[in-house]
C-alpha cells in the first residue's frame, strides 16, 4: 500500500512537470495574438512592417502546440476513436492501452525524438537562419523544440503506461489532476444562473403536460 502511494506521488509529480511545461507554453497564444495584432497596426497605421514577424509568429505557434503535447496526454486529451473503448471495463481498457503504448506509441515517439535530435543538431552546427524572409531570425532553437517536446511526451507516455499497470492491478483507473474542461456543465450553469431546482421544476411542467395529453 505504501509503495503504491509513493508511486502515485511520483506519477503526479511527472504530471505536474508536463502540466507546468505545457501551461507555460500555452501563454504563447496570448503573445501570438498581441504580436500579430500589433504587427497589423504597425504595418497599416505606422507603415512600418517587420519582416521577422512572420517567422516569429510561426515559431510561437509551433512551440505552443508541440510543447503542449505532453500536457494534453496527461489530461487524456488526445482524440480517441470511441467506438468500443468506452464500453470496455477499465481492466480491458488498460490492457489494450498498455499493449498499444508498446506497439504504436514507443516506436513512433522514440523515432521522433531521435530524428528531431539529428535534425536540430544539424541546424545548430550551421547556426541556421530562416530563409523565408531575407536575413531571417535563427531557427535552430525552434528546431530543438522537436526532440524536447518528444522527450516530454515520452516521459508522460511512460507515466501513462504505469497508470495502465495500476489499473490492471486494481480494476479502476488511478485519479488524475483536475483541470479545466471544454464543456464544464456546472460552470456553465453558474454562468447562466441556472440551478438544479429550475431544471427539476421544468421536469414537473413537462410531466404534467404529458399527463394532460393522455
Amino acid at each position: 500500500m505504501f509503495e503504491r502511494s509513493n508511486m502515485q506521488k511520483s506519477l503526479l509529480i511527472i504530471d505536474k512537470i508536463s502540466t507546468f511545461v505545457g501551461k507555460t507554453f500555452s501563454w504563447l497564444i496570448v503573445s501570438l495574438t498581441l504580436l500579430i495584432t500589433y504587427e497589423i497596426f504597425s504595418r497599416y497605421a505606422l507603415d512600418e512592417p517587420h519582416p521577422w514577424a512572420f517567422d516569429v509568429t510561426l515559431m510561437m505557434y509551433g512551440a505552443l502546440f508541440m510543447m503542449a503535447g505532453a500536457y494534453t496526454l496527461s489530461r487524456n486529451g488526445h482524440v480517441r476513436g470511441d467506438v468500443l473503448y468506452g464500453f470496455f471495463p477499465p481492466r480491458a481498457q488498460a490492457a489494450l492501452d498498455l499493449t498499444l503504448y508498446f506497439v504504436f506509441f514507443l516506436p513512433g515517439v522514440v523515432a521522433l525524438c531521435w530524428a528531431g535530435y539529428i535534425y536540430a543538431g544539424d541546424s545548430w552546427r550551421i547556426l541556421e537562419h530562416s530563409s523565408i524572409t531575407a536575413e531571417g531570425p535563427p531557427i535552430y532553437p525552434f528546431k530543438t523544440v522537436i526532440p524536447v517536446a518528444g522527450g516530454f511526451l515520452l516521459i508522460q507516455g511512460i507515466v501513462e503506461m504505469i497508470r495502465c499497470v495500476i489499473c490492471l492491478k486494481e480494476g479502476k483507473w488511478p485519479s488524475r489532476e483536475e483541470d479545466v474542461e471544454e464543456v464544464d456543465v456546472e460552470k456553465l450553469k453558474e454562468l447562466l444562473h441556472v440551478k438544479d431546482e429550475d431544471i427539476a421544476k421544468l421536469d414537473e411542467i413537462i410531466t404534467a403536460r404529458e399527463k394532460d395529453h393522455k
Binding site: F25, T33, I40
Partner: protein
C-alpha cells in the same frame, strides 16, 4: 450499452473480412497491397480507441521503414527518420494551421464573455411577432454564437440551459425545442470561421479564404431552411409552438419613455416632439437626445452604406475593383440578412448598424481616392470619369429606403428598448464576426491576421462585458493549448502515416482501383460522400478530414471535381453526421442538461426533420453549385 459493443465489433469484423477478400495470397503481395493493409489496419486500430495521433505515428513509422527497407536496407533508418522529422516540421511551420489556435482562442474567449443570455433575450423579443419565435431566435442565436465560438459542445449545452427551458415553459413541444437547439448548435461546423474549413484547406491545399467565402452562403442557406421550416411548422401546428404571452413579450420601459409614449407610440416622433415642443420639462434633455441619436443610427447607417456603394459603383474605372467588391459583399450581406426568415426590422438594422464604424472610416478614404485622380487629371476629364450607377443599384436603394421607412413606421418605444438591447448583445458579436469574415473574404487580411484580430476582439468583448479576469483568461489559454495540441499532433501523426502510405504505393492502388470502376463524377461524389458520412459514425470530424481526406483528394483531379466545391459538400455532410443517431454528439450534450423526463429518443426524433433539411441542403448545393461558388468567383475571379 451492449448494443454499442456489438455494433463496433461488427464494423471491425467487416473491415477485417474486407481486407482478407481484397488481399492476394502472400506470394503475390506487393508493396501496394501492404499499403492497403496499412489502411485497413489503421481503421481497426483507430476503432480500438488508442489516441489516434500516436496510432498513426507508430504505424506510419513502421510502414515507412518497411518501404525504405525493401528498396535499400542500409539507408532505411536514416531515410525514415528524415521523413518523419520533415513531416513534423511541416506542421510546425505551417502558415495555414497557425490560425487554428487563434480561432480556437477566439472561440473560448467569446464563449466566456457570456453574451449568449442577452443575445437570446434580445433576439426573441425582436422576433416575437413571427410564429415559433422562440425556436427561430434559438436558431439565430446558435448560428451567431456558434459562428463566433465554434465549440459545438459548449453551444449546445448553453442553449440547452437557456433556450430549451424557455421554450418548454412557453409550451413548445419537446421535439421542436430539442431539434432547434441541436440543429442550431451544430451550425458552427459549417458557418465560417470554422476550424473544419481551415483543416480542409491545409490538407487539400485550397485557400482558406476561398473556402470561407464559399461556405458563407451555404451556411446562411441552411440556417434559413431551419428558420423557414420552424415558421411553417409553427403556423401549421400552433399547439407545438404557441405564440408568446403578452407578459413574456412585454419590455420594461424606462420612466421617461412611458411618459413620452402617452402622446403616441412612435419613438422618433415622440422624442423629437419632446425636444421641440418642450412638453416634458421633467425629462433631462441629454437622455432624450441620446435616445434620439440611437434611434437615428439605422437611418444614418443606411445613408452611409448606400452612399459609399454609390461612390464605389460610380467611381472612375481604374479605382473600381477593391471598393466595389468589398461594398458589394456588404450589400449582399445585408440583403440576405433581411431575407433571413422575416426578421426584417432587427436584422435589417443589423446589416445597417454594423457599418457606421467601418464605412464611416472607409467612405472618406474612398472619396479622397477618387478625388485624387480627378484633381490630378486635366479638368475636362473630370466629369467623364464618373459612370452612371447600374440598374441594380437603384433597385437596392429603393428596397433599402422602403425597409428604412417600414422600420421607422413601426419604431415604437418598445422597439427602441429592444433595439438598445440588441446594440448591447447582437451588434458587437455581429461586428466581430463580420469584421473577421469580411476582412478575410475581401482579401484585406490573411486568415491568420483576421483570427488574431478576432481573438483580440474577443478579449475586448470580455473586458467590456465585465467578464474578464485572470481565471477566465487562464482557462481559455489552457483549453486553447490542449485543443491545438490535439489537432496539430494529429496532423504530425497523419503526415507520417500518409508518407508511408504513399511510399508503399497504396495511394496508386486506390487510384487505379477507383478509376477502373469507371464511375461518373456524380457517382464518385455520391460514393465519396456516403463513405465520409459512414466514417462520421465511428470517427470525429478532425480524424476524417486529417486522415481520410488525403486519400480522396488525388482522385478529384481525375474526376475533374473542384476541391473547393468538394470541401463544401464535405463540411455540410459532416455536420449531418453530428445530428445522426446513434452517435450524434449534439444529442448527448443536450441530454446532459435537459430535465430527466426528456428522453434521448425524443431528442433524436426532434433532430430528424433537421437532418432531412441538411440532406436537402446538400442536394441543393449539389444541384446549384453557384450557391457556394458564386462568392469566391466574384471576389477572386477564379
Amino acid at each position: 450499452m451492449k448494443k454499442g459493443v456489438w455494433f463496433g465489433l461488427a464494423m471491425m469484423a467487416l473491415v477485417v473480412i474486407g481486407l482478407f477478400v481484397a488481399m492476394p495470397s502472400p506470394e503475390h503481395m506487393t508493396n501496394g497491397h501492404l499499403g492497403l493493409l496499412m489502411l485497413g489496419l489503421i481503421v481497426v486500430a483507430i476503432m480500438l480507441g488508442f489516441p489516434t495521433a500516436f496510432t498513426l505515428m507508430g504505424l506510419g513509422t513502421m510502414f515507412t521503414w518497411f518501404a525504405y527497407h525493401s528498396a535499400d536496407p542500409s539507408t532505411a533508418v536514416q531515410h525514415t527518420l528524415e521523413l518523419m522529422v520533415q513531416r513534423a516540421y511541416w506542421v510546425m511551420n505551417n502558415d495555414v494551421l497557425i490560425s487554428v489556435p487563434l480561432f480556437v482562442f477566439m472561440g473560448y474567449l467569446v464563449e466566456r464573455a457570456n453574451l449568449i443570455e442577452r443575445l437570446f433575450k434580445s433576439l426573441h423579443l425582436a422576433s416575437s411577432f413571427i410564429p415559433g419565435s422562440l425556436a427561430v431566435a434559438t436558431v439565430v442565436t446558435c448560428a451567431i454564437f456558434a459562428c463566433a465560438s465554434g465549440i459545438i459542445g459548449a453551444v449546445v449545452t448553453l442553449m440547452g440551459l437557456l433556450a430549451f427551458p424557455a421554450m418548454l415553459k412557453a409550451g413548445y413541444g419537446i421535439r421542436l425545442a430539442a431539434g432547434a437547439v441541436t440543429a442550431g448548435g451544430t451550425l458552427g461546423i459549417l458557418i465560417p470561421p470554422s476550424v473544419l474549413l481551415i483543416l480542409y484547406g491545409a490538407v487539400a491545399g485550397v485557400s482558406v479564404m476561398q473556402l470561407y467565402a464559399g461556405a458563407f452562403f451555404p451556411g446562411i442557406m441552411l440556417a434559413s431552411l431551419y428558420i423557414g421550416a420552424i415558421i411553417i411548422y409553427a403556423k401549421l401546428k400552433p399547439s407545438a409552438a404557441p405564440p408568446l404571452s403578452e407578459e413574456d413579450k412585454r419590455v420594461e420601459l424606462p420612466k421617461f419613455m412611458e411618459v413620452l409614449s402617452r402622446d403616441g407610440s412612435n419613438a422618433v416622433v415622440g422624442l423629437t416632439g419632446s425636444i421641440v415642443g418642450k412638453r416634458n420639462a421633467d425629462v433631462p434633455r441629454s437622455i432624450v437626445l441620446r435616445h434620439l441619436g440611437i434611434s437615428l443610427l439605422p437611418a444614418l447607417a443606411a445613408v452611409l452604406l448606400m452612399g459609399s456603394i454609390y461612390l464605389g459603383v460610380t467611381a472612375p474605372k481604374e479605382a473600381v475593383p477593391e471598393g466595389v467588391v468589398a461594398m458589394g459583399i456588404a450589400a449582399e450581406d445585408e440583403a440576405t440578412q433581411a431575407e433571413n426568415g422575416g426578421l426584417q426590422e432587427p436584422e435589417e438594422a443589423s446589416g445597417l448598424k454594423e457599418p457606421p464604424g467601418t464605412v464611416a472610416e472607409e467612405a472618406p478614404a474612398e472619396t479622397v481616392k477618387e478625388a485624387a485622380p480627378a484633381a490630378g487629371a486635366s479638368p475636362d476629364k473630370t466629369p467623364a470619369t464618373r459612370r452612371p450607377a447600374a440598374m441594380w443599384y437603384w433597385i437596392v436603394l429603393g428596397l433599402c429606403l422602403a425597409s428604412v421607412a417600414v422600420f421607422y413606421a413601426y419604431f415604437s418605444f418598445t422597439r427602441l428598448e429592444v433595439f438598445k438591447m440588441m446594440l448591447g448583445s447582437f451588434f458587437p458579436l455581429a461586428l466581430l464576426i463580420l469584421g473577421v469574415l469580411g476582412s478575410i473574404i475581401a482579401g484585406l487580411a490573411t486568415p491568420t491576421e483576421a483570427a488574431a484580430m478576432g481573438s483580440f476582439g474577443g478579449l475586448v468583448l470580455a473586458v467590456l462585458y465585465g467578464q474578464f479576469n485572470m481565471r477566465m483568461l487562464k482557462e481559455a489559454v489552457f483549453l486553447t493549448a490542449r485543443t491545438s495540441a490535439m489537432v496539430c499532433w494529429l496532423f504530425v501523426g497523419s503526415g507520417i502515416f500518409a508518407a508511408g502510405f504513399a511510399l508503399l504505393g497504396g495511394q496508386e492502388i486506390v487510384n487505379t482501383w477507383v478509376t477502373s470502376l469507371d464511375l461518373s463524377p456524380l457517382q464518385f461524389t455520391l460514393l465519396a460522400q456516403v463513405i465520409i458520412f459512414l466514417l462520421g459514425w465511428p470517427l470525429e470530424w478532425t480524424e476524417i478530414i486529417i486522415i481520410f481526406m488525403p486519400i480522396f483528394l488525388p482522385l478529384l483531379t481525375h474526376f475533374q471535381i473542384d476541391p473547393l466545391f468538394f470541401g463544401l459538400l464535405v463540411a455540410l455532410n459532416l455536420q449531418t453526421a453530428f445530428l445522426s443517431p446513434p452517435v450524434a454528439m449534439a444529442a448527448f450534450y443536450l441530454k446532459g442538461v435537459a430535465p430527466a423526463h426528456v428522453t434521448l429518443n425524443q431528442i433524436f426524433l426532434g433532430m430528424m426533420p433537421f437532418m432531412v433539411l441538411q440532406v436537402l441542403a446538400i442536394f441543393l448545393l449539389y444541384m446549384f453549385p453557384q450557391i457556394g461558388l458564386w462568392l469566391p468567383s466574384l471576389v477572386y475571379g477564379g
